[in-house]
Symmetry: C2
Subunit: 194 residues, 2 copies
């Protein structure tokens, strides 16, 4: 499902990323992202097509269980903003699907910067007209890589694939997630230090 | 080897990190770092005690093969600063050893902030009185997580451990590396966004 019917999901309709495709190619070479990884992500996407939401549900459960993670979904009354949570969720699921299926081209690059901005003062509450805290601190975004990587492994293991395939698919997922978080760190970073 | 004979290796002798132990405990809970992970890191350290330098050699080879990674080791004459590279290397090896063996306490936390600063304008060339570029951009630091994680897996696989042990040790290494990089991102980040 590559859906544009999700409110606020503006893939292909956002401003150009300040990160160039050449910058991005350099990052891809640092993580060693190859055509085989793209193929592996496609395979993982086909295999887990119906589980993107289940993955996000698990991550949201982790978020919900730690006050320093759930705090960014809380409204001015100190209570979880359920409308905001409900609005964000399908886009989070779509991020999983897109990571599996979308080519890492200019359009994808642009959208990663949009998602990055939507975690910061620039745009966090804008899409959903919410009043939650204006930023998700970078440290939580980066540290959350661990459950996102570990959970994918568990999901792949449960598919009873040969060990080599689990390894190959998980390696591609790891590269994709670290590339993504690296791109998302851009608007948090001081001038010229990114 | 927990050596203080390495020039510029000032473990236990640096300023207090602005990150508190409580901040750090929250990050540990995000990545799910437990006593079992500490134990696993100790085991990995015992197993790979003599291979920390070989790991760093492999990473340096990757760095040397990509101009956008080796650029931060170049002197004002445009050539690699071999003295700087030689000075940095034993501290890089020691970082591997410390990650395996040191408790993640206040002293460790303080030293992660020192290492972070040594990648930025604040301190990059200071320790070795070098004249290389004044900062390693954050994006390369973060993206380099991938070879550092992938290589450790290959090293563990070569030890012919049971698959579960490889998994357990690698999971602990993943948590430690992501925690470390998260801490290292602090001085790069805009006020109040970390």
């Amino acid at each position: 499902m590559l859906s544009r019917s999700i409110p606020g999901y503006d893939y292909g309709h956002v401003q150009r990323s300040p990160v160039t495709l050449d910058d991005f190619k350099r990052l891809q070479s640092v993580v060693g992202f190859t055509d085989e990884d793209r193929q592996a992500l496609q395979e993982a996407g086909a295999l887990l097509a119906n589980e993107a939401e289940a993955l996000v549900d698990r991550w949201r459960k982790i978020i919900g269980s730690q006050e320093h993670l759930s705090a960014w979904f809380v409204g001015p009354d100190g209570k979880p903003d359920d409308d905001y949570k409900a609005a964000v969720k399908p886009r989070f699921v779509q991020w999983v699907v897109d990571t599996f299926k979308r080519p890492f081209d200019q359009t994808w690059l642009d959208y990663q910067d949009e998602i990055a901005l939507r975690h910061t003062l620039a745009k966090k509450n804008k899409t959903d007209d919410a009043q939650t805290p204006p930023v998700v601190p970078l440290r939580y975004l980066l540290a959350f890589a661990v459950p996102v990587l570990a959970d994918m492994r568990e999901h792949l293991v449960r598919k009873n694939l040969p060990a080599d395939d689990i390894e190959r698919l998980h390696a591609a997922w790891t590269k994709a997630v670290i590339l993504t978080l690296t791109l998302w760190s851009r608007p948090y970073t001081k001038e010229d230090l990114w």
